[in-house]
């Protein structure tokens, strides 16, 4: 049986808002577009956080040579953290001519022999998909030989962008892992977390609160994830999709197949964190749990308020322009507002319909939704007298020219901004940016310039 998912079907995601309108699908790649990763990258982002599995990239060196050890996805796995390792068949001209299946087979044997992983994910890439290597057959055979799951992931770069790759990764997990193992025990409050990759430990900002409430994270896809646990995911009572529209096919299919309901949440900012925790409790539908959740939220919010008080002084009357992409265009806006900073504009350049609606909701009628931030942001800073620009590194020059503070929100994250605790990290970083004299000093003219 071929396990290659049907790409067209995945592009037509019925749970995606844009499919109800007439706007284009998710898979538009434009020659000459400067940014955007490939489907392989999307699948890598979604699955590599399983640190107890080996992630074998079947392709030439570009795919993983330039991308291993890039993301700070943290794990509590006690064994060797394979999410910080690069495995590649590193195919050569010879393999391109004669096929790379034999090399793939030997590579899997080597990995199982030397690293004893809980599973091996095998990723096809542009070249190996093109030459027609049958990774399904190799995986099937290897699974029989070694007795651990082998998961073929069909997301070669040329099929589309990152979002599609995430979906294809979800598809691979659904086909090959979920439902293949029964959990040792179940609780009425078992949930799956889908779409949080625990970058910089984001998940750990709110997971302890869920635990305190007696809500058990049965499995994750894939932050701090374990292969054995995702195999039991079909026994959860609620799927919680965290900020990840790209994986939305998965909870929908889990609902169809196993009848598990799902909700979408975000853990950036106070309001969203509180709303999300409550939504999980409500999704589990237990009156006592809901009551306890409300108490916990009240307690946490009060605690947070107290610790935020000194920052509120600094942020009073401050205005920010936010130029970032995807769900960050509203999730960070919401967090900034929670800190008492007025968000006068946000970018919706690459946002989906849902993201745009949310951005509008958070910014209100007065807020500017920039469709061409590169050109617009400088003008908006002038008009509104903004004090802070949050954007990718390229916009640094705009901030220097305008002599205002700058925070890089696109750089690979080093610190978590998730949950209540993360909001304090964000506050501290913004305080430092606002107080840092560097922006003024750098803008200073040399004595020989007029």
């Amino acid at each position: 049986m071929a396990t290659k998912p049907k790409i067209r079907e995945l592009l037509d995601e019925s749970a995606c808002a844009h499919n109800k309108t007439k706007t284009a699908g998710c898979n538009k790649t434009v020659p000459g577009a400067t940014t955007g990763g490939c489907a392989f990258e999307g699948s890598q982002i979604s699955l590599f956080p399983y640190a107890d599995a080996a992630h074998l990239v079947h392709g030439p060196i570009t795919c993983v040579g330039a991308s291993w050890e890039t993301r700070l996805t943290r794990t509590s796995w006690q064994g060797r953290d394979m999410t910080q390792m690069g495995f590649t068949t590193g195919i050569s001209t010879n393999d391109v001519v004669f096929g790379g299946e034999e090399k793939l087979r030997q590579s899997i044997d080597y990995i199982v022999g030397h690293y004893a992983p809980q599973a091996v994910f095998v990723y096809s890439t542009c070249v190996t998909a093109m030459i027609g290597d049958d990774i399904d057959a190799v995986c099937r055979q290897a699974q029989q030989d070694h007795g651990i799951p082998m998961v073929p992931v069909h997301a070669p770069g040329f099929v589309g962008g990152k979002n599609l790759g995430s979906r294809l990764a979800g598809e691979a997990v659904l086909t090959h892992l979920i439902g293949t193992l029964e959990p040792e025990e179940t609780t009425p409050f078992d949930i799956n977390l889908i779409g949080d990759y625990n970058v910089t430990g984001d998940m750990w900002q709110y997971a302890p609160l869920l635990k305190e409430l007696g809500i058990r994270i049965l499995s994750t896809l894939s932050g701090d994830g374990r292969v054995a646990r995702i195999r039991t995911a079909h026994r959860a009572h609620l799927n919680v999709l965290v900020c990840a529209k790209s994986l939305i096919s998965l909870p929908r299919k889990l609902k169809e197949k196993y009848g598990i309901p799902f909700i979408s949440v975000s853990f950036y900012g106070k309001r969203d964190t509180s709303a999300s925790i409550l939504a999980i409790a409500e999704g589990l539908g237990d009156a006592d749990l809901i009551a306890r959740t409300k108490q916990l939220i009240a307690r946490e919010e009060a605690r947070l308020e107290e610790r935020l008080a000194p920052y509120r002084e600094i942020f009073r009357g401050k205005k920010a322009v936010l130029n970032t992409g995807g769900n960050k265009s509203w999730s960070i806006a919401s967090a900034l507002q929670d800190l008492g900073i007025e968000v006068v504009a946000t970018s919706v350049k690459k946002s989906t319909q849902v993201d745009k609606e949310k951005a509008r909701k958070y910014l209100g009628e007065k807020g500017v939704l920039m469709t061409n931030p590169g050109a617009e942001q400088a003008k908006i800073i002038d008009q509104t007298g903004a004090d802070l620009l949050l954007a990718g590194g390229r916009s640094l020059y705009t901030a220097i020219k305008k002599k205002i503070a700058f925070a890089d929100v696109n750089q690979e994250k080093k610190k978590s901004y998730g949950g209540y605790e993360g909001l304090l990290n964000l506050a501290e970083d913004l305080k430092n940016a606002l107080e840092n004299p560097v922006f003024k000093n750098v803008a200073r003219r040399a004595p020989w310039e007029k």
Partner: protein, 430 residues
């Protein structure tokens, strides 16, 4: 000389240090002013390369993609996405040069990039850089050769005081600048190709990030063949130098495998003296030579008891090993990303092509690692000293300002390495 193994023994690479040819090509094009490197392949290759170089240099990086999709991958000859990409980008900016290079995908398809180049109205250089062959260094070298073959006009006369410098890929922007300045001290005029010293050197300026800024000008490349001398640095640049010599039979060629350490720098100085007829080098050169000698003595005690593993691109490994050996360090492992004729000349107990898993297995044989950020986990796990060099180094700032070349850079490098070795020894005693 110890054992040399050229072949990778395993079926796969684990914790690879090899980097791709397309990335080397893109970097070479970034050393040309107003250039638009255009990678012909899937979007991921370009996006990974862009993030990789942005984080390494802490600079905005201009690279464009033809964004090949399943439709174009299977159906068309590849021309249309190239032409479309150029069209889309040039609506906004006017490149002085389009640097078209391939990837594994488009090489597997067998796209006719030469034909596509003909359909484009901008000056264009095309080069084949499959990522299932070679590596960063060869991608850079092949690109420089292609630039010379396709852009440089033939000449028969030479300007006696003009020098073309062809640096290898592992020379940091400041190193290119230092070497240019060094040659200029002898009264010569230098043009470097590519010239990262003026494009990715970390100076603060207005960036037009769809195109490279700084770097050697296209006009300067076109008229390059009137230089009396070409100096190539690194074995990977030999072919480029030969291509340039074909443009003017009157040119003379000085090849240096590297310019690291006392002996190699002496050799370069000797050549420059002969070239200019000067009797003595400029005073600052003399002074730095004495400083290097002093540092060699100051650091020899520490380095002499240190066993070192050097990893990276072959031309870099060759130079670093030589410099360290001169001060008495024992190079137990030289681990190269890819094969190269340079490996034959490296002075190390073991010379091999491999990955960091191989390095891990040999961990009992070295105390200090010279290598990229990927070696950090290894150094940590086994308590080794680490001197960060090569690609990528993301966790530190100022890569482009690190100079290990000539007398001056050699002195700094030996100090840094000896200090790292001592810090490790102190650490392992408490």
């Amino acid at each position: 000389m110890g054992e040399i193994s050229h072949k990778i023994e395993k079926p796969l690479q684990i914790n690879p240090i090899r980097l791709s040819q397309p990335m080397g090509a893109a970097l070479a094009f970034l050393g040309i002013d107003g250039c638009m490197p255009l990678m012909h392949g899937g979007m991921g290759c370009t996006s990974f390369t862009k993030v990789f170089l942005t984080r390494h240099f802490c600079e905005p990086i201009a690279i464009q993609t033809t964004a090949v999709t399943d439709v174009t991958a299977i159906l068309d000859g590849g021309d249309s996405s190239i032409v479309e990409a150029v069209h889309n980008i040039t609506k906004k900016v006017t490149p002085s040069l389009v640097g078209l290079h391939t990837t594994g995908l488009t090489e597997t398809k067998g796209d006719d990039i030469r034909g596509a180049a003909k359909q484009v109205d901008f000056p264009m250089v095309y080069v084949h850089t499959a990522d299932y062959e070679g590596g960063l260094e060869s991608g850079w070298g092949k690109t420089v050769k292609a630039i010379i073959e396709q852009l440089v006009e033939e000449r028969s006369q030479v300007q006696s005081d003009k020098v073309v410098l062809l640096p290898h890929v592992s020379m940091q922007p400041i190193e290119v600048e230092k070497l240019k300045d060094f040659i200029a001290l002898f009264g010569l005029e230098v043009v470097a190709l590519p010239d990262l010293s003026t494009s990715l050197d970390g100076h603060l300026g207005e960036k037009q990030s769809a195109l490279s800024s700084g770097g050697v000008k296209v006009e300067a490349i076109v008229s390059m063949a009137d230089a009396a001398t070409v100096i190539s640095v690194g074995a990977s640049m030999q072919l480029s130098a030969e291509a340039l010599l074909k443009k003017n039979a009157a040119m003379r060629h000085i090849h240096m495998d590297h310019v690291q350490g006392l002996v190699a720098t002496d050799a370069l100085v000797e050549q420059l003296l002969a070239l200019t007829g000067m009797e003595q080098p400029p005073a600052s050169v003399v002074r730095w030579r004495k400083r290097l000698q002093d540092v060699m003595l100051d650091s020899h005690f520490s380095l002499g008891q240190t066993r070192v593993m050097v990893t990276g691109e072959p031309d870099f490994v060759a130079g670093a090993c030589e410099l360290l050996s001169e001060a008495g360090a024992r190079i137990s492992v030289a681990l190269s990303t890819v094969d190269s004729p340079q490996l034959e000349a490296i002075n190390a107990a073991k010379v091999m092509v491999g990955d960091l898993e191989d390095a891990e297995k040999l961990q009992a044989e070295y105390d200090l690692i010279v290598g990229s950020m990927h070696a950090e986990a290894l150094a940590h796990r086994f308590g080794k000293a680490l001197v960060l060099r090569g690609f990528p180094c993301w966790e530190i700032v100022g890569n482009q300002l690190k100079n290990d070349l000539l007398y001056e850079g050699g002195a700094y490098f030996l100090c840094e390495t000896a200090n790292a070795a001592e810090a490790m020894r102190m650490g392992s005693h408490d």
